[in-house]
């Protein structure tokens, strides 16, 4: 039979919005968390993949930030917190007795809702953590600082004023400085707790683009109240309600055809 050939193959064209099935690096099993007697997280079992963006969504008080803070033991700083179940990162139970929390937080960096640069120069904001981790030579510091600021898409805007105060930057720039600071020590995982909720739309768009760039190098978990942000930036989405994990799937599935009615009601804005 005569063959019809078409030069370009459609199957070569793959969208980046198709969630990749990379290795699972975070493994939560039956994780529960109590503040005193009140239970904030109920039997959460969840596996998070490497080098993708996973979004935690859900109405206020659903436990998404609490869960995020479990991943680098930020909840240890709160009195009366009790945790049951396991949370493994790269096969290590991070709540095990021999875990060095400082080492853990080096592997699992965090960016907060409100940007919190140190009251120091842009350069020193990043150099501080590096010196703490043993980087002393100036040229080595310079290199890492430039690389981190480039990764945070801030280098071009600040390269001529590295020694002026970090607090003189705009809100969006300060947040990117915090991201540069977090990536300077090359964590495996980057936790972001509503990193753009205090920013204007343009600065928000920059942070979102940055998140999508950074997933090449880091595993990112982001908590957001902004549903469209979760849709735009994440590969996988977990929906929480009243301390429970209701649905966890590819972002495409959650936003086009969720399996649970509660998820559908939330993502379409019917409640929450």
């Amino acid at each position: 039979m005569a063959e019809i050939t078409t030069a370009r193959m459609a199957s070569d064209l793959v969208s980046s919005s198709m969630a990749p099935k990379t290795k699972e690096v975070i493994n939560l099993d039956q994780l529960s968390l109590f503040y005193g007697t009140s239970q904030a997280l109920k039997d959460i079992s969840l596996k998070i993949r490497e080098n993708v963006v996973t979004a935690f969504i859900g109405p206020s008080g659903c436990g998404k930030s609490t869960l995020l803070r479990c991943l680098n033991r930020m909840n240890d700083l709160i009195d009366n917190v009790r945790i049951e179940g396991t949370c493994e990162i790269g096969n290590q139970n991070i709540y095990g007795p021999d875990v060095d929390v400082v080492e853990l937080r080096k592997r699992v960096g965090m960016v907060f809702q409100k940007s919190n640069p140190f009251p120091k120069s842009i350069y020193e904001n990043i150099a501080f953590a590096l010196r703490l981790h043993g980087v002393k030579k100036k040229n080595e510091l310079d290199d890492v600082i430039e690389r981190s600021l480039r990764q945070a898409a801030l280098w071009e805007e600040v390269k001529d004023r590295l020694h002026s105060s970090g607090l003189g930057l705009s809100g969006g720039q300060q947040q990117r400085l915090c991201i540069a600071r977090a990536v300077a020590i090359q964590p495996e995982i980057l936790l972001m707790d509503e990193p753009a909720s205090a920013l204007d739309p343009l600065a928000t768009a920059k942070i979102e683009e940055l998140v999508m760039d950074l997933k090449k190098d880091y595993t990112i978990v982001i908590v957001t109240h902004n549903m469209q942000q979760a849709a735009r930036v994440s590969d996988y989405t977990a929906f929480f309600y009243l301390g429970r994990l209701i649905e966890y799937d590819t972002t495409l599935k959650v936003f086009t055809n969720p399996s649970h009615k509660q998820t559908e009601d939330y993502v379409t804005g019917r409640f929450g």
């Binding site: 019809i4 078409t6 370009r8 193959m9 936003f255 086009t256």
Partner: protein, 226 residues
């Protein structure tokens, strides 16, 4: 600022162009199968239609995911919605090519009724319309797209002419009936392909100018309110 979303939109355009190249090939090959009386090529056209169907489904799913995940507005929104319409038009073009191929196989079972002159001319016009409307899409050229739309009339006229001619054959000699009807169907399919090309051109105008030029002459003046 280059957005990640722009890469997705570029991908959408590339996928559309791949689909368009399949559709153009299908029509070109179907007409070639007719003029060269090539059964094998006709069968290959019918088989290749599956790829167009698959691409239609794939592109629709992709557009829906872009709508759901990015909540696009303005020109982004227009691009995605017209992409969905263009895929539908291209899939229909593929179906018409399949119809032509089926009729070619039937025609080849009998001696050729006459020398084909007008049908290849129609095919050239229809394919040029398809190509120009897609070029206008790729090159952001709404004026070129506007020029495509009125060319549909030439194809319509040729179709009418072919019908008259075939009717005269069939009246004269009823034994030519089957071949005459098959050729009429082919002519009608080419006319429909030109319609789809004109639709694509109108969609391209909407994409780049934001103005809807469909049915402008046909629409009645303001409806009377009683």
């Amino acid at each position: 600022m280059q957005r990640h979303f722009d890469q997705e939109l570029d991908l959408l355009k590339q996928k559309l162009l791949v689909m368009a190249s399949y559709a153009e090939d299908a029509v070109g090959n179907a007409v070639k199968a007719l003029s060269e009386r090539d059964d094998q090529l006709a069968r290959a056209v019918i088989k290749a239609d599956d790829s167009l169907d698959t691409l239609e489904v794939e592109l629709d799913e992709f557009c829906i995911s872009l709508l759901a995940l990015h909540a696009p507005i303005a020109s982004d929104l227009r691009l995605i919605t017209i992409a969905m319409k263009i895929t539908h038009d291209l899939e229909r073009v593929g179906d018409e090519a399949t119809t032509i191929a089926r009729r070619v196989i039937e025609l080849n079972a009998e001696p050729q009724l006459k020398n084909y002159v007008d049908i290849p001319r129609m095919a050239v016009l229809a394919l040029a319309m398809l190509k120009d409307s897609l070029d206008a899409f790729v090159n952001r050229h709404p004026m070129k797209a506007r020029e495509v739309v009125p060319r549909d009339k030439q194809v319509d006229e040729l179709n009418r002419q072919i019908h008259r001619e075939l009717v005269s054959y069939m009246v004269e000699s009823p034994s030519t009936m089957t071949r005459g009807l098959n050729l009429m169907v082919i002519s009608k399919s080419l006319e429909r392909i030109a319609d789809h090309a004109a639709n694509i051109a109108e969609e391209v105008v909407y994409l780049y100018e934001g103005s809807d030029i469909r049915h402008i002459k046909k629409s009645p003046s303001k409806p009377t309110v009683y």
